[in-house]
């Protein structure tokens, strides 16, 4: 349904050009939940923003194609993209307040969005609004509809934002760290909710997060990004339990989850490379334990390994 091919994005800054995204390839199929994981600076958010053409002015899309149902989104005019935004592809951000009108009751906001997407009377819109709130598991929708955003808790706000995003309902929901600002118990509820929306309404979800645990909980497929490149992708279980790229392996090893408290954590030494001076070879080479000569010279490309599992690494692997 959504396909990104060879996407390159550069950022112009006063100090020089940052190669923020390099050769991104990914697909999202119907009814699929795809996770993009990566640390800060990996380019996961930039990938999401470029889909709906929401990048800031200093970003240049150098090359590539983002096609949605066969239509290249990058060649569309502003008006045309506006008809896709919200209606076909919706987005949810980390901080729900940025997506809510601060001085408008949440019910009104929701009705307004519903009326924008569907031809319904005011009364019908109100009924749809109440149903939409019920869909996101708000138990007393009539009461909540009359609240202003600031009167609600963070978890409630994120539910409202999801309800807004689902109003059309869209084919694809892009969720950029939607639970990062929330408590774990609330996060769990929101994740369950998104999974349910995916199953019930068949909405595909592109889920952007830094949290491997979240990915394992909701995503069918996982894409791992590092320094603006996709380095591994595949079915979530395979990527997380049989990681092939040394970075993915190291990232999972570095988590304290379930580790013996008497052993030091296997930290990844060093830091992410400066994207203004991208190394010639593999971006992870300087931190990699299995680094070879070829890694420093030539950049590995994402290549197919086995059943849907792709890796960008020079290491020999079986299968």
């Amino acid at each position: 349904m959504l396909e990104i091919k060879n996407l390159h994005v550069n950022f112009q800054t006063f100090r020089g050009t940052i190669e923020a995204l390099k050769n991104i390839n990914l697909t999202v199929d119907e009814k699929e939940v795809v996770g993009i994981v990566g640390e800060s600076g990996s380019g996961k958010s930039i990938t999401a923003l470029s889909i709906l053409n929401l990048l800031e002015k200093n970003a240049d899309i150098i090359d590539g194609e983002i096609s949605y149902r066969g239509e290249n989104l990058l060649t569309l005019s502003k008006k045309e993209i506006q008809t896709i935004r919200g209606k076909k592809i919706a987005m949810v951000f980390q901080e729900p307040m940025t997506a809510l009108h601060p001085t408008m009751k949440v019910g009104e906001q929701l009705s307004e969005v519903i009326r924008r997407h569907r031809v319904v009377s005011k009364k019908e819109a109100k009924q749809l609004m109440i149903n939409a709130l019920k869909d996101v598991h708000i138990h007393n929708p009539e009461y909540v509809a009359k609240q202003y955003p600031f009167e609600l808790s963070g978890g409630m706000r994120q539910r409202i934002v999801i309800a807004l995003a689902m109003a059309a309902p869209p084919d694809l929901l892009i969720a950029d760290e939607p639970t990062t600002a929330l408590d774990v118990t609330i996060q769990h509820e929101i994740l369950q909710l998104m999974k349910e929306l995916n199953e019930k309404k068949g909405t595909s979800i592109l889920f952007i997060t830094h949290d491997l645990g979240v990915v394992s909980e909701v995503c069918d497929r996982t894409i791992v990004m590092y320094a603006g490149e996709v380095i591994e992708s595949g079915v979530t279980k395979e990527v997380l339990y049989a990681p092939q790229h040394p970075y993915t392996k190291a990232l999972i090893e570095a988590l304290p989850d379930g580790k013996d408290a008497n052993e030091p954590l296997k930290a990844i030494h060093g830091e992410v490379p400066n994207l203004m001076e991208r190394p010639a070879g593999c971006a992870f080479a300087s931190r990699c334990q299995h680094v070879m000569e070829v890694c420093k010279m030539k950049q590995p490309h994402l290549t197919h390994w086995q059943n849907q599992h792709d890796v960008a690494c020079w290491l020999e692997r079986d299968g």
């Binding site: 006063f14 935004r85 919200g86 940025t98």
Partner: protein
Amino acid sequence: MEVQTQTEVQQAPFVKRSALLYKLKKNKLTMVGAVILGVIILAALFAPLLTPYNPNVIDAANKFQGPSWAHWFGTDEVGRDIFTRILYGARLSLGLAIVAIVIAAIVGLMIGTVSGYFGGYIDQIIMRTMDMILAFPTLILAMALAAALGPSIQNAMIAIAFVKIPVYVRLARSETLSLRESLFVKSAQTFGIHPFRIIRKHIMPNSVSPVIIQGTLDVGDAILLIATLGFLGLGAQPPAPEWGAMISIGWKYLLDFWWYPTFPCLFLFLSAGALNLMGDGIRDVLDPRSSR
């Protein structure tokens, strides 16, 4: 759905600063102001090279000469070259204005940070006192003070510094109030170091930039105040080549010898105007919403 873009591109401070300069350069009026001011400052600094005359030497034979190649702006009632006196006067006016503002800014910064940091009674007393000073029109208060201290150029400067202090107190205090909540000040508090050290080492260095900006905005104002006090006889005393004092004597001769008061006025107008243009530019760049 309205969405906002957020990208995580970190920029180091020096990048911001060069961006500021870039914006300033794009603002034409600001550049005009900067050029005028630059010329006046250079001329004042190199006054002895630009003119063969001494600003204070009386040459009765050449009194009330009109503008000519020898005397560009003419001469005054005792034959002194007006161009020379304006250049030396620029040293006085600009120099004193800057000194007055620097004093006001330093004192204001100290009082304001202490007031904001400690809060409570100290803050109340200081801020009410500042409100009292601000309640008077600046000029009237400066005149009263200068008169009370006795007419002299130093006293005029002190008076101007004094009436400008509240502006800086308020500015420094509001900065301090937000800095007090910042994590690095909180952590300094947890070390148990002395509050005055926190103010000196953490609060002051971080609240100094808005104070400097306000200072550049205020220098033009201070030049006018010095000239006004001089004009009223409360500032520089003759024969000092101060613009206000020159205008004060010269205006009586306006009908017969127009050049005498006109040129000092022109320079007063130019330098105050240039400083205001620059100040506006700086303010616009720092706060794009203000369109004052």
